[in-house]
Symmetry: C2
Subunit: 475 residues, 2 copies
């Protein structure tokens, strides 16, 4: 002790910065360590974490799940109406799929309601939005999450039986994932618009666009999506909120093949013009590819790897590999973003859509370093973009050598969110997101960055720990 | 003095590091400043520099030239056979244009010779390469630099009367620049190949590709090139050695319009397949756009701004705005690069082509921060890429707000090389380059980074200083 007080004080302060202030006041040096208790002070979650950390079964399960994810080879194989290829969507069911975890009609946000009604009209189950509303209110339409049917959709994420969907197959695992096709910008169903022109555009997609592209795919053969995404990540995209390069690269593959099909010239021209005019066209394919990669990792008992993050406009929900189909939900965090002129946070719907499947797969916000334009758009700079990508290393199982980030010297992007690490270090998965107007049909009013809520991860680690201890002590 | 030797020595050593070694040996601290005398010790150049530095006339002239460069709006307006639009290329002249400063047939490098002979055959002036060689040897073919005719061409840079050329107009200044069209990779004329298939491919470009694209341009109207280049710089291109994004963006503009023309389906299909299969397709347009921007800045008396850098396979040549048409030449520096398997520096032709017009305009090597993949290809990393772009700030008149670099927080790229600054600080303009085999027809054997030789800049500042003093003291 006497020696201690002879030297000048050099202190590392853990936790509340206030503890260190006196040291500095007394002339000592103090380095503040930004530490917080694990699980944000949730004792039960912390105990669950203690159960799960360094447990061989969990480590092994995560290694298996992560390897399956890394090995996945998502390949675009076809386009078909949802009723022909989405599991459980038979032509005798009035079934509509939506984004995020399960939610009842009465709880849905404005854009999702608008989109559901539009889909009812599109299917011809009602001849007006009003009639559609009556039908839904009476419980005559089944509403289920896309994720319950191996599918994903951005924003409202509506998929109804007649809609064409991309079919992506994981060549390694054999599993398939679907997504709807991107409608472009402006008044579109995914933001809740359901006017006559929106429905007409969806009909055109089903009658002209999808059949033309189906013929193209028959000509090109399956298109590998991982190399396309990898290239796009080296060209300023993070393949969630920015898909300009990926769309261009895909377009370059599709256009020459289209002219080799028997698709009529006017249909071919309209198809090319539509894709060329929509920089988000690739988004839905990116999502289906991510879903296919992550489904490959699902269902490994004891694995704490996150396989789904999705939002229904009210709640954020996640799934773990080790708890398979179970959802862990919490109210969605607000989106810190920039709003288009004339709009503000008061106009915004809550975080919405299945597109966080991209972050779950280590792209999107996780690959922000690849797309500094995204973070610049919401007021950050390229250093912030790099920090987002670097910070995600703390909560992931590893990195994906298929996806490299030029700004970080082509380092592999962090991937495979470990729910344990999120709870332990309190770093939340970062998510890039569009912002929808809270009223149906207004559309996108901004874009920004948000995070997955901690409560989802705390609940997930508790459930996983219970599962494991239940298995150890059979009653 | 007594005080000086009481303190511990802290020394800044300017110049030779050896001077500082004794200080360090004696226990002092020494910071080495990497200083060299201006003009690499060339006294005459240093005096010229003293004449030119801080001289109002030069500063003013540079401001005028640089402003004209920045204001230029290069727009792709048409495609036509060279004989119809390249100045001085009439149908009664057997004129062939080549890259770089003037060079006689007997001094030309292998690839340029091969390409000249191929062009003679293409034009039907001889029916074999052997006959063409005889014709050229006898002096029956005129050989002049592209730059003497407002044109540019990559590598050998051959333009003959029947070849289709891109026509780019600077909407601001009214001046026009031309370039040949990119032939793709493999056996191509620009690397000196001149076999039957090379000539057939050039004929196809003239008969099918160019007329199809001419119809497309009639449909789209003029295409602004600066925004396209700007987008590409934000997508991993530096629009010299990497044009993957720019080509994709251009393709996305051209393809839908092509289907709206009367171009036959098979010709349209072949056109799209050719462009989609050639990531360098945009290079020649980038070059013509840069030429149009720089020509706008040419001919401002007293300006030390560099308006041309070009290589003929033997010499590197530059032109200044203030000395207009005059060339300042020196032997080209070697290219530090990576070679394709089976090739080495012994197989390499000297630095070749007009494509350094891109660096002259502040892209290419100057925008390396935008394209870390380029520097990675030759063994560097993304930090090296940034340093290249940052270092060029020391030798330029300013930066170009139209061209931003994401990795440097979207800072504007350095542009407008000031020959005075090059001579003064000894930093040489960095140039990205393909490497051609020294024998005609082998093609590209590597790629790398090189610099413009100092002697060009020393000669240029001497000439500019003479011009100015001649104007001051009329004899």
């Amino acid at each position: 002790m006497p020696t201690l007080f002879k030297d000048s004080l050099k202190v590392i302060n853990v936790g509340l910065p206030g503890f260190g202030e006196n040291v500095v006041a007394a002339g000592g040096q103090c380095l503040a360590l930004d530490w917080r208790p694990p699980a944000q002070g949730d004792r039960e979650a912390a105990w669950a974490l203690a159960e799960l950390c360094n447990r061989a079964a969990v480590e092994h399960a995560n290694a298996v799940a992560f390897a399956r994810f890394l090995e996945a080879q998502p390949v675009l194989v076809d386009i078909a109406p949802a009723r022909e290829c989405v599991g459980g969507m038979t032509s005798d069911r009035r079934l509509i799929l939506h984004a995020g975890p399960p939610i009842a009609w009465c709880d849905m946000c404005g854009p999702m309601r608008g989109a559901v009604l539009g889909a009812v009209v599109l299917e011809g189950w009602a001849d007006s939005v009003a009639a559609a509303a009556q039908m839904v209110e009476m419980g005559n339409i089944e509403l289920e999450p896309c994720h319950h049917h191996g599918a994903v959709g951005p924003m409202a994420g509506i998929i109804s039986p007649s809609m064409p969907v991309w079919i992506v197959e994981n060549r390694q695992g054999g599993n398939r994932a679907c997504s709807n096709m991107n409608e472009g910008l402006g008044k579109v169903l995914r933001f809740g618009a359901n006017s006559r022109e929106v429905i007409e555009h969806l009909r055109w997609m089903g009658k002209v666009l999808a059949p033309a592209l189906r013929e193209v795919l028959a000509r090109t053969g399956p298109i590998e999506l991982k190399p396309l995404m990898a290239q796009a990540l080296n060209m300023g995209d993070e393949v969630h909120n920015r898909n300009a390069a990926a769309t261009s690269l895909l377009f370059k593959r599709l256009a020459p093949a289209l002219l080799e099909t028997r698709v009529a010239r006017d249909a071919a021209a309209a198809t090319l013009a539509f894709i060329a005019g929509n920089d988000h066209f690739f988004l839905n394919l990116s999502m289906a590819a991510c879903k296919a990669m992550l489904d490959a990792a699902s269902g490994v008992p004891s694995s704490s790897m996150v396989t789904v993050m999705a939002r229904n406009g009210v709640n954020f929900g996640i799934r773990l590999s080790g708890t398979a189909e179970q959802w862990f939900e919490a109210p969605a965090n607000p989106v810190e973003g920039l709003y288009f002129p004339g709009y503000s946070v008061a106009d915004a719907a809550a975080d919405l859509g299945d597109s966080a499947i991209t972050e779950t797969a280590g792209v999107g916000g996780f690959a922000m370093a690849a797309a500094p334009a995204i973070v610049k758009f919401v007021g950050g700079n390229s250093t912030d973009a790099m920090h987002h990508s670097l910070r995600m290393r703390a909560i992931t199982l590893g990195s994906n050598p298929s996806f490299t980030l030029p700004a970080l010297d082509f380092a592999a992007a962090a991937a495979g969110i470990d729910a344990r690490k999120v709870v332990d270090c309190g770093i939340l998965p970062v998510i890039n997101s569009g912002i929808a107007h809270r009223e149906p049909g207004v559309g996108q009013i901004g874009a920004g960055v948000t995070t997955a809520p901690m409560a989802c991860f705390s609940a997930a680690v508790k459930a996983l720990a219970r599962n494991i201890s239940d298995r150890k002590t059979p009653r």
